[in-house]
């Protein structure tokens, strides 16, 4: 049975833990707002891009000279997984759920006899995947130094991916990130980057007219597809940033609540024990007096 002093120390330590988790929750809430804003601000660009790509690629469908980024290089042997996670922990199941999705995907591919290569973005994902899949990780990207996510970060990753593709290092590329649904729900998502999946963009009504292209459609497409990769990665990074803060906020919220419950329980125990001790001392005094 812990002594009164032990209990007192325990209560103080839980109290300071609660202060920390509470502060982290508030910081995450503030960061979440900013992350959400920038994710929203980036949406028009990727939406317009998707529309134009959907437009152009429908006209390229079935043609032999369709760019490889759109149609694939005809093989399906080597898969590249780009796994985006957070740089920091203490955000609930955020990092592990993304890593789990990537792991399941990798296991499925390997069971089919495919080759798997992994690029991790973010330290945490690297830490988790390193243990089991260390030999497949070909590159890691560290964004810890970046205070705010800029498009240039996404471009740097996109360039790496494109270079590997041009060198024939892989055939199919899939991007893993957590889609931001709401503060309490983030959905780990796998998105195929190469060959590009361009479905879903809505085509504007031209009223019977057709687009005049300058230069021709094939050339525009060849120019746009590499850009689209960077845009998709940028979107994934922004969604991830918002999801991370959301996950951290709810994780820290429940941690703060748990700490409160714990303090209540410990205080009740402390008070009971203190009372029992006083009673015991009284009994000792009284029985001492009676013995005289």
């Amino acid at each position: 049975m812990p002594s009164l002093k032990d209990l007192r120390n325990r209560i103080t330590s839980v109290k300071s833990t609660r202060k920390i988790t509470k502060a982290m929750q508030m910081v995450a809430a503030a960061k979440l707002r900013r992350a959400q804003e920038s994710a929203l601000a980036a949406r028009p660009y990727s939406e317009r891009m998707a529309t134009v790509l959907a437009n152009l690629s429908s006209s390229m469908e079935g043609r032999d000279d369709a760019p490889q980024l759109l149609a694939g290089n005809g093989k399906d042997q080597t898969h590249l997984l780009v796994v985006c996670t957070a740089e920091r922990g203490l955000c609930g199941g955020f990092n592990s759920s993304i890593a789990r999705l990537a792991r399941e995907h990798a296991d499925r591919l390997m069971a089919q006899g495919k080759t798997v290569k992994i690029i991790t973005v973010g330290k945490k994902g690297n830490d988790i995947l390193k243990r089991l899949y260390g030999r497949f990780i070909i590159d890691t990207v560290d964004l810890r130094a970046a205070r705010t996510l800029a498009f240039s970060h996404a471009q740097a990753i996109a360039q790496k991916v494109l270079k590997l593709f041009e060198d024939g290092q892989f055939d199919v590329c899939t991007l893993f990130f957590a889609e931001f649904k709401s503060v309490i729900s983030q959905k780990p998502t796998a998105l195929q980057l190469i060959p590009a999946s361009v479905k879903g963009g809505k085509t504007p009504d031209l009223g019977g007219a057709i687009y005049d292209s300058e230069p021709d459609e094939g050339e525009i497409l060849a120019d746009l597809l590499p850009r689209n990769i960077a845009v998709q990665i940028f979107r994934a990074l922004l969604e991830n940033a918002a999801s991370e803060q959301g996950a951290r906020m709810s994780a820290m919220d429940s941690a703060t609540r748990n700490a409160g419950d714990m303090i209540n329980k410990l205080s009740i125990r402390y008070n009971r024990q203190r009372q029992a001790q006083i009673t015991k001392e009284l009994i000792e005094i009284i029985s001492g007096a009676e013995a005289l």
Binding site: S38, A41, P44, E214, V231
Partner: protein, 130 residues
């Protein structure tokens, strides 16, 4: 009748509104877009987009890497980099030129080198014009 014009960068929506005319630097030549223009898709070279607002006020914005789309709803310019010319200084432009020069020397094949060289030429033309 006004032209609905939107300028979008990956980070945010920079301009959205009704204007009288927009001049854009297309890869194959400058284009003036007026209300009711036929649907067009075009890639852009590094250069300056000139927006003429209703009433005649002009706004000049430097753009790099992007494309323009005209449809019956209006004109949309997607650009990777978009900076108002007023905020564009020689230093910034010199940096862009330096990056472009690196692209030229890094180019693996003739096609990429040709494109990078074109980019560089446009930037240098802009630099001397400023």
């Amino acid at each position: 009748m006004a032209l609905h014009f939107e300028l979008v960068s990956p980070e945010r929506l920079l301009f959205s509104g009704d204007v009288a005319e927009v001049d854009i630097p297309g890869t194959e030549g400058d284009m003036g877009i007026l209300p009711g223009h036929a649907p067009v898709l075009s890639t852009l070279r590094p250069g300056v987009v000139t927006v003429t607002k209703e009433g005649g006020a002009k706004e000049r914005i430097f753009v790099r890497g992007g494309f323009a789309e005209v449809n019956p709803q209006g004109l949309t310019v997607l650009a990777e980099v978009a900076v108002p010319v007023a905020e564009l200084n020689a230093e910034r432009l010199a940096q862009e030129v330096k990056d472009a020069q690196e692209d030229v020397s890094d180019a693996q094949d003739d096609e990429t080198r040709r494109r990078a060289q074109e980019n560089l030429d446009h930037l240098q033309a802009l630099q001397s014009a400023l």
